[in-house]
């Protein structure tokens, strides 16, 4: 499908949802559902997306949608997928259906990790999309294991004892890649063609696929709500959130800023959650070293082919 056909396609996640203005999650959902040609069944973990898109008696989903509990979006969708396979074998269903689970970073990095790991290991044919807004935004900005070092949240306060979160973020994409599943990728809504291509690839491959999408949050990250896409692009340009994919164990970097790689300082200056670090050169250097180390490792992995 070309761009015009994709744009003209009927929306499967419609207007009227109550996510904040400038939220990246609905952009990610719209793009994901646009990129899938087949019929689709969606499961969602508890989170901003779930509570804001299905306020009774309304729903923004035009696809069969299921929510179970916070921790088991992956387990739920794997049950649905197993049922589909059984019905297909019995000849009761002929249609080709794709299965997608959406989870925030809370429902994926922390609470839903074991159910995700289990579903990946069992090899169900589904796509898991994590919209990573780097904290528990739905309940009022509490730290998660996706929150980057130095970021303020309500449970990683700034004061004399600590400057925001003390620990580095968890590298979930690598954890998922370690399950040796057919397809793992990292994306952002700013690179929407890249994201849609990855979704298309993820659903076309037999077996589990996982896409980790950075989802800038104007409320929690403290930036003006028209800058969502600019911030997502900055994450790519600073190599804070590199675009890459792992297909059958082979790493491939999709975008290498090369000489135009921006210093992490720009990323930190763009958001109010890092306000206390704006003049703290030592801390910024520490974060820069962390980002560089991860980027170098990724480059080495991709050069191994």
């Amino acid at each position: 499908m070309n761009l015009k056909q994709l744009a003209s396609k009927e929306e499967r996640f419609v207007s009227g949802h109550r996510l904040c203005p400038g939220c990246a999650a609905p952009i990610i959902v719209r793009l994901t559902l646009k990129a899938i040609k087949q019929a689709v069944v969606v499961a969602t973990a508890t989170g901003c997306l779930e509570v804001s898109s299905t306020i009774f008696p309304y729903t923004s989903w035009r696809v069969p949608w299921i929510h179970n509990a916070f921790e088991n979006a992956a387990a739920t969708i794997s049950g649905v997928e197993a049922c589909y396979r059984a019905l297909k074998r019995q000849g009761k269903i002929r249609k080709e259906i794709k299965f997608v689970a959406f989870g925030g970073d809370g429902g994926t990095y922390d609470i839903g990790l074991q159910s995700l790991s289990g579903a990946l290991e069992r090899g169900h044919d589904f796509l898991y999309v994590c919209y990573d807004n780097e904290a528990y935004m739905n309940t009022g900005i509490q730290r998660s294991s996706a929150t980057p070092m130095g970021a303020w949240t309500n449970t990683s306060q700034v004061g004399s004892a600590q400057l925001g979160k003390k620990e580095h973020m968890k590298d979930l994409t690598s954890i998922v890649a370690a399950h040796n599943i057919p397809y793992v990728a990292q994306a952002t809504p700013a690179n929407y063609l890249d994201l849609m291509r990855k979704v298309e690839k993820g659903v076309s491959i037999k077996g589990p696929a996982f896409i980790n999408v950075l989802s800038p949050c104007p409320r929690g990250w403290r930036f003006p709500h028209n800058k969502t896409i600019k911030i997502a692009q900055l994450a790519v340009d600073t190599c804070f959130w590199p675009l890459y994919e792992v297909e059958n164990g082979v790493y491939k970097i999709n975008f290498d800023p090369g000489k135009n790689k921006k210093p992490i300082r720009e990323w930190i200056l763009s958001q109010g959650r890092y306000k206390h670090l704006w003049k703290n050169r030592g801390f910024i250097r520490e974060i820069q070293e962390f980002v560089d180390r991860r980027w170098e490792r990724l480059k080495q992995l991709s050069s191994m082919g």
Partner: protein, 97 residues
């Protein structure tokens, strides 16, 4: 929508009309609204793909307008437009919206 009693709610609280949130207009959230200039627009469709609300209407591969009934006025479209064909204006100015 009229409030229902528990007797008339479907079992399990299932919502049986997909996409009925279209009945809930979020357009009144905004303080600024986008104004689209058809002449300046190069039809790159960037705004359509990046709108969180899906409020940028496309017909036959072309942008035809912005649905202010749902637009929350975040301003991503105006910020991302490569030719500045969308500008944000304050609600209430010039008697608009």
């Amino acid at each position: 929508m009229k409030k229902k009693s528990w007797k008339s709610i479907p079992e399990g609280g299932i919502i049986t009309t997909p996409g009925n949130s279209l009945k809930f207009k979020t357009g009144d959230w905004k303080t600024h609204y986008p104004e689209w200039n058809k002449e300046k627009c190069i039809q790159c469709l960037r705004c359509h793909f990046l709108c969180p609300e899906g409020a940028i209407k496309v017909k036959n591969g072309k942008v035809v307008g912005i649905d202010l009934d749902y637009c929350k006025g975040c301003g991503i479209c105006a910020d991302e437009c490569p030719v500045k064909a969308i500008v944000m204006k304050k609600v209430g100015e010039n008697g608009s919206d």
